[in-house]
Amino acid sequence: MSRIVGGVATSHVPAIGGAMAKGLQQDPYWKPFFDAYVPTREWVAKVKPDVVVMFYNDHGLNFFLDKMPTFAVGAASEYVSADEGWGLPILPPFPGDADLSWHVIEGLVAEEFDVTTCQEMKVDHGFVIPMGLLWPGDQRPVRAIPIAINTVQHPLPSPARCYKLGQAVGRALRSYPKDLNVLVMGTGGLSHQLDGERAGFINKKFDLFSMEALIHDPAALTEYSSLDLVELAGNQGVEFLMWLAMRGALGNSVKEIKRNYHAPISSTASALLVLETEEQPDLQLTAA
C-alpha cells in the first residue's frame, strides 16, 4: 500500500520563479527566503517521495472563464509549463502518474466529489515554483499529480469542503495498492491582495495564527467561510484553501519539521510549513 510521508505548504509568488531563473538565491533580499528550503530539501531526501500530489490554483493559464472547474484533477502522463504572459521561463515538462491519478479520481467520485478530470493540463507558477523550490533546476526525480482548486471566480469552495477534499484524497492515496511514498503539497498564500483599494493588504497576525492552527487544530479553520478568508487574508490570501486541502490529506497527527514566515516577497506574505505524518490513519470514511 502507498503511504503519505508528509506535507509541504509554500507560497508560489511569481517573483520567486524570477529569482530562481536569475540565480539570486544568495542575494541579500532573497537569502532569508531561500535558506528555509535547504533543510526542507534535506527532509524530502530523507522521506524519499516517489510521487507528489499538489493542491494549487491556476491563475489563467490552463483554465478560462468559459469553463471553470471548482476541483480539477490532473490525469496526464506529463504536465507542461507554458508562457503566462509576463516573462517567467518555460521549464521542462513534469512527469505524471496517470494510473495513480485515476485511482484518486475513482476514490473522489465514490465519495461524491464530482471532479473535473484533465488528460491535458498546463501548469502555471502555482505548480512549477513549489516544484522548483523542492527540486531545483531541471531534475525531475518525482512524478506529480496536480489538483487545481478554483480561486479565480466566486463562489469558491468553502474551507470545510477543501479540507474534506484533502481527507478524501488522503484516503484514496492510502488505499493505492502499489508501494509508493507520497508527498502532499499545498501552494499559495499567505496573506496578500493584488486588486482594489485594499491592494497591498498583509495580515501577519492572522497568518501566524492560521499556520499554528493548521498544525494542531485544522478543523477550527474550517469554521471560516471563503469570504471570511478573503476578509482576513486578502483577496488572493484565500489561496490558503490549498493549505487546508493538503492538511486534510495528512491525517490527525503531524510533526512540525520546518516553519518559516517572510513578509513581504513582492506583494505577498510568504510562508513555508513542512509537516511529517506521524501515523497512517485507518481508511474509514469519517466526516471532517
Binding site: P14, H59, G60, L61, F64, L65, D66, A82, D83, E84, G85, W86, G87, V152, Q153, H154, P155, S158, Q193, L194, D195, G196, E197, R198, A199, G200, F201, I202, N203, K204, K205, S225, L227, V230, E231, G234, N235, Q236, H262, A263, P264, S266, S267, A269
Partner: protein, 122 residues
C-alpha cells in the same frame, strides 16, 4: 452557511472587489482578450494594432477606455479579473507592485514601504 443566506447576502469587504458571476458576465470580453495574451503572437498583435485587437474581442466602450488609459481600477470596475489583467499589465511592463500602487493612489515606493511595514507587525 444556510443556502438562503449564501445565495441572497452579498457581502461587502471594503476595498476588495469580489469577482463573482456578475463581474464574470460583465467582464467576459475584456478577460477573454487578456487570456489571449498567454501567447506572444497575440501580445505582439495587440502592440501592433491596439484598436483593432480590442475591437476583435468586442470590448465594451468602458473596457476599451480603461485599457486605453492603462487604468486598472477602471478595468476592474468594467469586470476585469486581476489574474487575467496581470497579463495585460505585463505587456506594459507593470508588475503587481506597480498595479497595487496605481489602485491605492500611492507611489510605488510608498506602496512597497506599506508592504514592508505589514511584514513587521508584532
Amino acid at each position: 452557511m444556510p443556502i438562503e443566506s449564501a445565495m441572497t447576502a452579498r457581502r461587502e469587504i471594503p476595498g476588495t472587489p469580489i469577482f463573482d458571476g456578475s463581474a464574470a458576465q460583465k467582464g467576459y470580453a475584456l478577460n477573454r482578450m487578456c487570456f489571449s495574451f498567454n501567447d506572444k503572437a497575440n501580445r505582439d498583435a495587440f502592440l501592433h494594432d491596439e484598436d483593432g485587437y480590442c475591437a476583435s474581442y468586442g470590448l465594451t466602450p468602458a473596457q476599451r477606455l480603461a485599457v486605453a488609459d492603462r487604468d486598472v481600477t477602471a478595468m476592474i470596475e468594467a469586470g476585469g479579473n486581476i489574474y487575467y489583467l496581470a497579463k495585460l499589465a505585463g505587456i506594459f511592463g507593470l508588475n503587481v507592485q506597480d498595479v497595487g500602487a496605481q489602485q491605492t493612489g500611492m507611489t510605488v515606493g510608498a506602496f512597497r514601504q506599506m508592504l514592508i511595514d505589514g511584514g513587521k507587525v508584532q
